[in-house]
């Protein structure tokens, strides 16, 4: 997902994680997913909405997502759901994300090693 300039470049890979997580809760079509991302992140992460679809297509091509045509509110829509391979990928990504967040938090808060080095 191409993030707007307001989002830092180190968020690479985060849109995929978010998409997999949100779709693992329930299948959604593109527009619904975009709205859910906005609601789930309290609008903190700004996404170019049109850029969500290419990521969905790539994840589908990588067999992490499955897409099927379904009638939603009287219209035929392409609904995405997480495939078994996507669930495994999500578990890996979540655990990797938690490790990174913990490590960065520790560094930012001046962990034991950081203090010793500065002293």
């Amino acid at each position: 997902m191409a993030l707007r300039k307001s989002n830092p470049a180190f968020l690479n890979g985060v849109p995929e994680l978010l998409i997999l997580e949100l779709l693992s809760r329930r299948p959604m079509h593109g527009y619904e997913l975009v709205q859910t991302i906005r609601a789930a992140t309290d609008g903190s992460l700004e996404f170019g909405e049109g850029c969500v679809y290419p990521i969905l297509h790539r994840l589908e091509s990588d067999k992490l997502l499955a897409a099927s045509k379904e009638t939603v509110s009287g219209r035929v829509r392409l609904v995405y759901r997480v495939a078994p391979k996507g669930k495994a990928q999500l578990a890996d990504s979540v655990s990797a994300w938690r490790r990174v967040v913990t490590a960065i938090d520790t560094a930012l808060e001046g962990g034991a090693h950081g203090r010793a080095a500065v002293a």
Binding site: M1, A2, G50, C51, I55, H57, R58, S61, L78
Partner: protein
């Protein structure tokens, strides 16, 4: 910019980048649905809303750039173009020629066997088509690999430079290839380099022959070498022409 303009600009930007028409169509349809949903959510059909609703989507150029980037990430050939368009064509050509030579030898053995092993008289139809047959055995792998490379490039929306490079390599290697076949026992002489030369097989001896495959260039190349050089370039030219023609049609249809 209104919705239709926005979608048309996106379609044109995607088509210019050689994305396959089926993918462009799918993407544009999904975004069109997205726009409709957005308008329904606002319960508005005001002209002002129709003009401004596209801002959350991003500009057509930005969305097209994201789509192209993601599409290329999906393809092995886009991620490893040197392997796909330089190394693999050369390897595939070598494998294709080995297979062609084996097939040729097996075919010759089969014909000898069908003739009862004497080989005193080769079938006339075989003698007639032999020059074309030997040329085709060299040419087929070149043409197949060139077509395959162009197809892969087309599916990966990789543009024309890599397939052109691959086809130039194929043309240079293919144009230098020589396939020399001698078959005795032919009542019209010996086939040599797809031409007949007078030679007599001692009576009562089984037919023998030889097959040589190699590379060589001369200031006066053989006609088949010119064909072998030209075919991959012609296939690439056809591919580029087809791509640009499809792109034009798609933009016009949009």
């Amino acid at each position: 910019m209104d919705a239709q303009q926005w979608l048309n600009q996106l379609r044109a930007a995607l088509s210019r980048q050689n994305l396959p028409p089926f993918y462009v169509e799918r993407f544009v349809t999904e975004l069109s649905d997205h726009i409709t949903d957005s308008l329904e959510d606002r319960m508005s059909t005001d002209a002002k809303d129709l003009r401004h609703f596209t801002s959350p989507l991003g500009t057509p150029a930005a969305v097209a750039a994201a789509a192209i980037g993601e599409f290329r990430k999906r393809r092995f050939s886009s991620r490893h173009p040197v392997l796909m368009f330089v190394v693999l064509p050369i390897l595939s050509l070598a494998v294709g020629w080995i297979a062609a030579v084996l097939l040729f030898v097996l075919g010759a053995q089969a014909i000898v066997w069908l003739n009862g092993g004497s080989g005193e008289r080769w079938p006339q139809w075989l003698i007639a088509i032999f020059p074309v047959l030997t040329g085709a055995f060299v040419l087929s792998p070149i043409a197949l690999v060139a077509a395959l490379v162009c197809r892969v490039a087309g599916r990966a929306a990789i543009g024309w430079k890599w397939p052109l490079g691959a086809c130039v390599i194929l043309a240079l290697i293919g144009g230098a290839a020589l396939f020399d076949v001698k078959m005795t026992g032919v009542d019209r002489g010996v086939l040599h380099g797809t031409q007949f030369h007078e030679a007599n097989n001692p009576p009562g001896t089984p037919p023998n022959g030889s097959l040589a495959f190699g590379f060589g260039v001369n200031t006066h190349p053989r006609p088949w070498q010119v064909v072998q050089f030209s075919v991959p370039l012609a296939i690439c030219g056809l591919f580029v022409w087809r791509q640009s023609s499809q792109r034009r049609q798609h933009v016009l249809a949009g």
